[in-house]
Amino acid sequence: MTTFALIITTPPTDNKTHTALMYAEAILAAGHQINGVFFYQDGVLNANNYVLTPSDEINLLTAWSDFHQRSATPLHICITAGERRGLSDNNEDGFVDNINKNFTISGLGELVVLTSSADKVVQL
């Protein structure tokens, strides 16, 4: 069994993000393990509870959440990148935490931990 770390930098409006999910599924299907998926840059938008997609289109938030729940794969978001793009873990006046609970709030340090501990690092 080989361990993987994935880095995702594309938003849910970009089909490349679906590719990343399919690749993650294929890793698990082949019997390997993903130590964690790190969402950076526009990738953090995948964790936004506020994102709505029309009912005839794939909802990547639902898809990632389902992936997490089936596999227990940690999904990390870079909170600094998130704050620049409208994600917030703040519940004070005028704010509601909009980061989906299937994602873990992390910093760039987690990128280092994940990529240095996995056998394979793939950026998608």
Binding site: K16, T19, M22, A29, H32, V122
Partner: protein
Amino acid sequence: MTILHLVRTSAFTDDSLKQCLNLIASADQLFLIDDGVYNIHHSLIQGLKQPVFFLQQHVDARGLIAGSQQRSASYNDLVTATLNAKKVITWQ
């Protein structure tokens, strides 16, 4: 051990493939995914020494017909290619 190069954009629009080919070693592999599959008809990859793979689903989605010089692959093949390489460079 070799490098697996993932190319995700069309070389008709941007220079990712060109940057990749500048740095690909003769033992490396080139794997076209996403809009990178449009490159199956680009002159830059004709006659390359390295094997060129493409994700069949991504070719199908775009209505392309692959030539015989490149090799059809599944996501499982992409995982295998990752396992066989020492590291991966993603050009996007």
